[in-house]
Subunit: 380 residues, 2 copies
Amino acid sequence: MHQLRNFAMSKVTIVDVHTHVYPPRYVSILKSRTTVPYVRDTTPGQPSRLIILPGEDSPSSHSTAAGRPIGPEYYDINAKIAFMDTHGIDVSVISLANPWLDFLDPREAAAVAREINYDLDSMCKTYPGRLFAFGALPLSGTTDVIVNEIERLPGYNYMRGVIMGTGGLGNGLDDLSLDPVYRALEANNMTIFLHPHYGLPKEVFGPRAAEYGHVLPLALGFPLETTVAVSRMILSGVFDRFPKLQVLLAHSGGTLPFLAGRLESCIAHDAHYRPEGRRSIWDVLKVNIMLDAVVYSELGVRAAAAASGGDRVLFGTDHPFFPPLEAEEDAKGESADGKQSEKWLSVTTNYKAIRDAFSDNNGQEESVLGGNAIRLLRLA
Amino acid sequence: MHQLRNFAMSKVTIVDVHTHVYPPRYVSILKSRTTVPYVRDTTPGQPSRLIILPGEDSPSSHSTAAGRPIGPEYYDINAKIAFMDTHGIDVSVISLANPWLDFLDPREAAAVAREINYDLDSMCKTYPGRLFAFGALPLSGTTDVIVNEIERLPGYNYMRGVIMGTGGLGNGLDDLSLDPVYRALEANNMTIFLHPHYGLPKEVFGPRAAEYGHVLPLALGFPLETTVAVSRMILSGVFDRFPKLQVLLAHSGGTLPFLAGRLESCIAHDAHYRPEGRRSIWDVLKVNIMLDAVVYSELGVRAAAAASGGDRVLFGTDHPFFPPLEAEEDAKGESADGKQSEKWLSVTTNYKAIRDAFSDNNGQEESVLGGNAIRLLRLA
């Protein structure tokens, strides 16, 4: 707690690049649906519940049957600002939470994307200078529709990129059909915030997975999904064709920093994959990739900085996910009413990891906390 | 090259804990089979080909249709010694390569395990002091059969543990039915060398995966398989029930070091998984886990050492896999005959990663290169 106060009181500008919202219009869409993803209004007096992950609506799964309660922190931008104030965060780059617009009927995708991006930009306007945004793309639409939306983004005041899942147009991010999309993003200086949602097939986690709650799909499935997705982009030459494309990877790259060496080695030893003039993954990491610092350990932050450079690692929180558990609040003798002003363990863990990782490195801590985001995402 | 000579000429004892053999008896078993895993004798004058991975025998896959050539380095222990001499390795802890005995008819598993373990120990006898072994278990047999084999292992001179895949008895390593196996291994001071084989379902890598050769399944699928397997052991309480059990994780833990923080955070925030008196993953990493240093990057070795301690990271090569490509040899103007005395890129990359990771840390480099293995596996 002491450390956080220091952050808040110092002159360092703290920027959160990984923080999600579901604008009210998006919540309405989810409420109108009855299959995943959707929002279920349950018992009167109880919060609605958000059901976004496959299997969360399965009554046979004791840990995920109920989805998660959705309160103002999901859709009310004032709750976001309160969270920022509690944690000493000066600026947030908000993004639509998963599963974004991936599930939309192609015929409505273009209109919804336009409306949601308008909503996001409008939210930013209500707190000038404190909020910027990654927009959403109508990826279920045609390439023309997607490119049109990208070209509209610079017209907004606060748009700095787009959040994207790993599905692309349905065949992943190594799909050549995405080239017009990548070209438009590169030409319009729009960073891709690449974020997981679909995880791994559930058989990977074995017959006992449900006993461990959401741990295996969230702790391992999500990062592995991101790692596979960005590796497919690299192997298919996306960064060779679009050498200025910028991609911010969620959760410190999934595990790309740790496995980059093995990827390079496997490429160097593969008799069947011998691309000409290939850029090394280490080069791509330092030129095209940014990594958030949402990795919950000092060694993770150090590995991220070693992979992409301390000038390309950016503080984030993953708010509103990973709130404190009620049990923890009770243990501290605080009431649920105190939640708003309570510091979140998920945030203090990441603050501490950054502080510890850069304790011997003058200035780099401040860059990761905010300077890098300000420079790379043009927030000043 | 210069660095390697220094190693070889210095007094440091270098121990390779990750190095595989297929004893001739095992090759005969594979040659008698016609489905994966098997060995195919093809064109006269050409080496036999090893087909162990699902899909390698599919004629539709251009990159994996042919399996890999299998020469003396796979089955001749003299070739192992020659490789060790070339790379300055004093001692190797050999282990049967995947897929071990997992595929055997349960009725023959016990007898084959006994024979293979006899073969491994006999190989070690031919070069006293230079070879030790991880044995193989008849995991398709009953628990009694498996425990019987474990109890025979201390009777050998050179057995220091067992190599195991992630399948266990068919339901993974968090299967409570494995408790007698873990109990016997703990009681007999036999380290588990946990190694991947099955990878991830191929749809994870998308429709273009075959274009990238073996890169995605080998570079990402293998490590992710290991990470999921050991995470399931941790979450199911294996290390709570068997607090002295020792597990050496292949490929620096897959990606356990990088994701340990996220695992801890997801556990701390999961309302449905609240085990009592749970040991933290960081504690398990430092008490029960050893990590090989087969990660091909300085940052990977640093992360491994940060996770388990520099006293629990152990040099390895993954020989005979990842030999130099013929193309590389041609480029250097060397003939295939020169292969035996040529240094392997996969090995020099790991040597360099260790050297760079510990350049500022007196003595730790020597521990990782050999001292840790000698102490933890009782090789002296």
